[in-house]
Amino acid sequence: MAILEVRDIKKSFGNIEVLKGISFDMEKGQAVSILGSSGSGKTTLLRCLNFLETPDNGKISVNGTILFDGDQQNLSDTELSKRRLHFGMVFQQFNLFPQYTALENVTLAPLLNDKSRNRQDIIDDGKLLLDKMGLSDRMGNYPHQLSGGQQQRVAIARALALKPDILCFDEPTSALDPELTGEVLKVIRELASQHTTMIIVTHEISFARNVSDEVIFMDGGVIVEKGSPEQVIDNPKSDRTRQFLSNVHSSK
């Protein structure tokens, strides 16, 4: 059974229809990359999954449980928070909390809201996650003392600390110096090799090719093409996909 089912998601901002009916499934343990030019709606789709935007229409289910159904839009805050936890989110701009250390950023949310684990467990778990991110010597540092790549790796650990069913990345390397993208991509690649279920919105075509099980190409608020990386990136069927890929390649 699919871990995530998305059906006919629509979203408009004013008169502009950004998502015109998006449907797709993904399996547990898969990494799905979403490609597309700016304004294609890929970030909005990710934000809809995380309830940062409320879709106008459609259905989202995780593990067979319906999280969003076009009809019921007025959720209470607590209910919304609970449903959000199925998804983790890593932002383009990291959005770490500046007044907390790397470790505190990772442990803050579970310490506040996860009553099923004790304090020491959560802290040990946070340390383990930062260690996995290659940041064992940075746990006590504040965000402003870390490089962009390190900050993004803390953000990834922070998202993982809540053990989400699906981890979402919104252009995780777009705000980084070219030199620093490698260390973040490496971490994501490792997560993929451990079969973390992930949706990655990215502009890094070659990264998407070798990290993902499936690639979705979006344009103008619809899914134009979806399939294995070999299909979509190496042998695109649609003209729009071909055009996008050749523009990206020629600009490199």
Binding site: N50, F51, L52, D77, T78, S81, K82, R84, L85, F87, G88, M89, F91, Q93, N95, L96, F97, P98, Q99, L108, A109, L112, N113, Y142, P143, H144, R158, A159, L162
Partner: protein
Amino acid sequence: MFITVTLSLLNGFLETLKLFSLTLLFALPLGLIISFGSMSKSPVIRLPIRFIIWVIRGTPLMLQLLVIFYGPGIFFGKNIWGSGTSGRFSAALVAFVINYACYFSEIFRGGIQSIPKGQYEAAAVLGLSKTQTFFRIILLQVVKRIVPPISNEVITLVKDTSLARVIAFYEIIWEGERFIKSAGIIWPLFYTGAFYLMFSGLLTLLFGYIEKKLDFFK
């Protein structure tokens, strides 16, 4: 004579300090509440609050003191403040709290609105409630940003307390002025400046310390 004057001025300065500290105690939290009102999505809340802020910031504090002290008696035929010293103090306190809460609210609003949207979104996707987000994530960042403008306002407040003498509140300048009539000397009035200077010096040091304490993050 010097000792007599000093003691008498100290007495007045204690009244000044009382007005100063109670104003801060009430105006800071009230200012925070007003700032939420002035940012409310509902115009029924937002517009009246913006109007009040406009009136309070747009008229002299001295005038507000007079209106608050004499207004109830003139307009409603009822002097709610009583005739004694404590009544005048209460009226002065109410005027100062309203005035300063409005100024503080604008500083809070600026501080709160300067926090990037990404902080709220990061907190939201981590499942934090609105209350948790405000108190655990936003508040300290706001405090850090508003310490310099708040310190400015607080130091202004030290000196503004002298306005309360228009409703015969016996603060330090009132005490200093008394010596002109009673002893024919003017230097005690000038001497009050030393008290203000010393106290604002202390506050400057205190706010410098707070700023430094909050320097651990950016």
